[in-house]
């Protein structure tokens, strides 16, 4: 990105001052290297979001921002329903409530080592992943509606996990605004055999080791110690979420004209929060969010069973579960006043600071665990929300590495088999993916997640707590 067009407010804050139809500034959080490497589309898309009705304070882009659909990936924006604010299907994206869940296992690296291959094989057999895989849970229409209303709470009631798990999921595993009647039959049909499936693309299930601790006090509160084994799951609302977005985008494109909303690009499709289509989308999207956490809850159950068979000593406890493609109703202080906003995070993670009322008692002192997914060859990170992020970005930070190279470029540059061999030499076992899929997901095709996390820490959006390196990676 050409930084001459930006005004630097601090080491990691770059402003696009309002011009033309922009109602507020756009603020990009990044260090100088990341912002120079960022594509120009981020500038255009962050500025476009700033043009939407009812936007409050600013349109934000996180350090991993890149070209998205309407919103940049890594975009955050809050809208006030009392000021004509909008809700945007494009601002949530096609994988509603895609997110990361990390689970402590009570097992150390040394204890895992002798059974590592056995564990990888059994996980690959038991976790349905990729196109053509089916869940063992077939849901009838009534069960589907219960799942969409209940989210992870529904999953726990069905015997997938414990009530204790729910404390460590955003909104305790259930968004209250879910309205299954606004979810189409086609979306429900797409989901009937997909509860507890991983999906494909950049989704994964990883067995990781804690390879570095940056903040000993917060790590202690999160229960993370050097060489501990952690399981992380990255996936979303599967076919249901994709279909909800597919159903609502054209509706919002068509209704925008009626509401007099000028869309700089069609993917920015949105509607007033206080309108039929806006309300219906919020009800349906909340179902998508519940579906995603139910999905990760069922997957957690499958992981627990596998661990109990191979490592009977293990004891799996949720560290936390975050959603990074979502719109939520949150209270934020703006100009000294508390306001109820519809906060969109498109490829951005909620990062509430210490003492936030939504956090469980044992995590309050450290702030919300923020889970940042890396690639199968690099690392993932655990961060903690800061007090400052509440005023900087509505309590939001980055979500992952972000691609540096397209899938087509990656397949030209790498062969899946070479990547598998290199990773095996470094002790990383990959299971489940096709060789072309591995080439498309090559670690080198992503930005350096370490740089993204460092910039996030420097910008005080969240602070680094621990680094997690992959040992086993199951992909679809």
């Amino acid at each position: 990105m050409n930084i001459e067009k930006l005004k630097r407010h601090s080491q990691c804050q770059w402003y696009i001052e309002p011009e033309g139809a922009m109602r507020v500034p756009a603020i990009i959080f990044a260090d100088e290297k990341l912002i120079k490497d960022m594509d120009e589309k981020v500038f255009e898309q962050a500025a476009n979001v700033a043009k939407l009705p009812g936007i409050v304070r600013a349109s934000y882009a996180m350090p991993d921002a890149h070209w998205g659909y309407g919103f940049p990936i890594g975009g955050v924006a809050g809208f006030d329903p009392d000021q004509g604010g909008v809700i945007s299907a494009g601002g949530v994206g096609f994988d509603i409530s895609c997110g990361v869940r990390s689970i402590r296992t009570g097992v150390t690296c040394d204890e895992l080592e002798p059974v590592k291959t056995k564990l990888a094989d059994l996980l690959a057999r038991r976790i349905p992943a990729g196109l053509g895989s089916r869940s063992k849970q077939h849901l009838s229409r009534d069960e589907m509606d219960e799942m969409l209303k209940g989210g992870a709470q529904w999953a726990v009631e069905q015997g997938f996990g414990t009530k204790d798990d729910l404390q460590y999921i955003e909104e305790k595993g259930r968004l209250p605004g879910a309205e299954p009647k606004y979810v189409s039959d086609r979306a429900k049909e797409r989901q009937k055999d997909e509860v507890g499936t991983l999906g494909s693309g950049n989704h994964y299930l990883e067995v990781q080791k804690v390879s570095q601790i940056y903040d000993a006090d917060s790590a202690e509160i999160f229960g993370l110690h050097l060489n501990d084994i952690v399981v992380s799951i990255h996936c979303g609302s599967r076919g249901l979420g994709h279909q909800i977005a597919t159903d609502f985008l054209p509706r919002m494109v068509k209704s925008a004209q009626k509401f007099g909303i000028e869309l700089p690009e069609r993917e920015l499709a949105c509607a007033p929060i206080d309108s039929d289509v806006g309300r219906e989308y919020f009800g349906a999207m909340s179902c998508g969010a519940n579906c995603a956490v139910a999905n990760r809850q069922v997957l957690t159950h499958l992981v627990r069973k596998v661990f109990s068979e191979i490592l009977p000593k293990s004891n799996l406890h949720l560290l936390y579960d975050v959603s990074h493609n979502i719109c939520k109703v949150e209270e934020h202080t703006v100009d000294g006043k508390s306001r109820r906003l519809y906060v969109h995070r498109k490829g951005a993670t909620r990062a509430f600071g210490p003492g936030h009322p939504s956090l469980p008692a044992d995590l309050k002192k450290a702030g919300q665990p923020v889970l940042i997914g890396g690639t199968m060859g690099t690392a993932s990170y655990v961060l903690a929300g800061t007090e400052k992020s509440m005023s900087l970005s509505f309590g939001s930070c980055c979500h992952g590495a972000g691609r540096a190279m397209s899938r087509t470029q990656a397949t030209k540059k790498w062969h899946g088999k070479d990547i598998l061999r290199d990773l095996a030499q470094r002790g990383v076992i990959i299971r489940g993916a096709s060789t072309r899929g591995i080439a498309e997901e090559a670690p080198g095709a992503y930005k350096d997640v370490g740089e993204v996390v460092d910039a996030t820490d420097k910008a005080e959006l969240a602070k680094k707590v621990a680094k997690l390196e992959p040992l086993i990676c199951v992909k679809g």
Binding site: I73, G93, F94, G132, G201, T246, L249, M405, S434, G437
Partner: protein
């Protein structure tokens, strides 16, 4: 004299016919699909002498994201109908209808016949059930998007359709 004029006329007709054939050959050759780069996802493009053929080519590009087209035997027929207010929305609806059939029937498609009239599309798609061992699917397509969306007729008369799909 008359004979010479006839001969010139005939030569002109022949040349014209040859030019038409040549144009047709060029147009026929211009029936193809391709993938193009997008930072996070994948762009698909279909080109053909008619809008319908371009739509069908883009559908081949969609399947080719998931697997090698040669591996998909067109043995089973699925019929698809969709309607939209303009060509661009119709193109995205067409791809999303296919994505829905792939997801719910667990099928992949490798042969298409598309008809479009009055913003309504009716199509036949032939394919077979997904066999993970045989097709080794690379990735699941989540949705077709409005990003980089084009349905346009080029100066030479051929049609180009494209958009980014979310994978």
């Amino acid at each position: 004299m008359q004979r010479t004029e006839d001969s010139v006329q005939k030569t002109a007709y022949r040349l014209n016919a040859e030019r038409c054939t040549l144009n047709l050959v060029i147009l026929m050759r211009k029936t193809y699909w391709q993938h193009y780069s997008h930072p996070a996802d994948m762009g698909i493009r279909g080109v053909g002498p008619t809008k319908e053929q371009a739509f069908a080519q883009a559908a081949l590009a969609l399947t080719a994201i998931i697997t090698d087209l040669q591996k998909v035997v067109p043995r089973e027929l699925v019929e698809i109908i969709c309607q939209e207010q303009d060509d661009e929305l119709l193109f995205v609806s067409w791809l999303n209808a296919l994505i829905y059939e792939i997801a719910t029937r667990g099928m992949l498609f490798s042969k298409f016949e598309v008809n479009i009239a009055n913003n309504q599309l009716s199509a036949k798609a032939w394919g077979e059930k997904i066999d993970v061992k045989k097709h080794s699917p690379t990735v699941e397509v989540k949705a077709a998007t409005y990003a980089d969306l084009k349905v346009q007729q080029n100066k030479n008369g051929s049609w180009l359709v494209q958009c980014i799909v979310d994978v």
